[in-house]
Symmetry: D2
Subunit: 135 residues, 4 copies
Amino acid sequence: MTTVAEMLRTYPKDLGGVDREKLRDCIEACLDCSQTCTACADACLSEDMVAELTKCIRTCTDCADVCDTTGRVLSRHTGYDANLTRAVLEACAAACKACGDECAQHASMHEHCRVCSESCRRCEAACRELLAGLG
Amino acid sequence: MTTVAEMLRTYPKDLGGVDREKLRDCIEACLDCSQTCTACADACLSEDMVAELTKCIRTCTDCADVCDTTGRVLSRHTGYDANLTRAVLEACAAACKACGDECAQHASMHEHCRVCSESCRRCEAACRELLAGLG
Amino acid sequence: MTTVAEMLRTYPKDLGGVDREKLRDCIEACLDCSQTCTACADACLSEDMVAELTKCIRTCTDCADVCDTTGRVLSRHTGYDANLTRAVLEACAAACKACGDECAQHASMHEHCRVCSESCRRCEAACRELLAGLG
Amino acid sequence: MTTVAEMLRTYPKDLGGVDREKLRDCIEACLDCSQTCTACADACLSEDMVAELTKCIRTCTDCADVCDTTGRVLSRHTGYDANLTRAVLEACAAACKACGDECAQHASMHEHCRVCSESCRRCEAACRELLAGLG
């Protein structure tokens, strides 16, 4: 059991109707994607062909920030606001879609972009799964 | 002229069709709102009646994170992606609306909530202004 | 193999003399501690005795921010600066020590504080391990 | 009066022996430096000679994150911990020194680096002023 699951289990009040497993998956995917995007932006910066990767660096940096904030918002349950959760998840799915698409274009040449693209796809899917369950 | 305006002026490439003044206003409003929300969550935490302010603390903490990320995304122009900018601005407007409403309920009793509510209103308006201009 | 390890493996240039395993452990500990502290601050906020947990909430919130930034700095290798890495790791160890001590005081009463305290201890240890190896 | 000053004024408990003006200056300098560094990293990314600015981009990105976290920690007063504040300010001064030095090397060629270097110098000085007063 990861710490994310343990923190969901030990939250002292009711978590509402949320699907606990999807919530855990989404928080973990956000953390993973944020770190991977931060590292991929930096790896791109160290490539000899950095001049051709500037859009990728920007998209990774944005995605890292958006996933970071989304993981934080999803880790809080007190005074839950479905509207805010929905808007944040939509923004996160958009950031992961943009970054996943961009990194996929460089995946055959740069392995860090392949790993990052896959992490973005997982996070986008986890956000959409959670969104679908918000009703 | 603030540093935000100076950084927009010295960006080496074209900024596209964006309204530079609205962009500057929105970045500044995000920075201000993020700091104010961080401080208001902490001020609520030091009130004797903290038990009645838990929803306010949560909403402020979320709003601080979302405004922070929005200010960062808006400060980048390389490889601009209108879809992502729009989704992030929508999330920021939602966070500021929720926090502005919540703090407004405590504004007559806690001056920090009044100041915070006004900062949230300004940031929500700035996000909507910028959104309207994105086409 | 976690994504953190994959991103270290696929970084295109030399990582210098750093102990790759300790670096991975520390990045993972920072991510875990940041999320756990965010969740613990929120769990404390939902406890009936929140008025007695205000210092804990503050310490958790600070620790979440410091671990977040530390995880980001450690995920970058381009233009490595040992002085900055050292100062950031010192701040992170201090934040984890403070939060681990504070949460330990509530661990017998609140399980989320026990989980959080353990996450802080692991992160503090990982920072000190990495610091010791920086020479 | 800025919002930072208003939030310090409306904090409901005693702020301790801190020099309120230096604290306000430092919080404002952290916000300004964080935004400026985020924008300078992006501006460097759009320069034709980006390959010669990779260290600058990395240093700016780190400095943005560290200043962001420092501004947050300084905006909280509940359960104040001088050790943590000191360690965070030391890390922030180190980040601003590194970034101010790096950007200064490009200041004559890139105006955004000049603006950023000056913002880093102001933030480093504000951190050191506050540190000196912590006793």
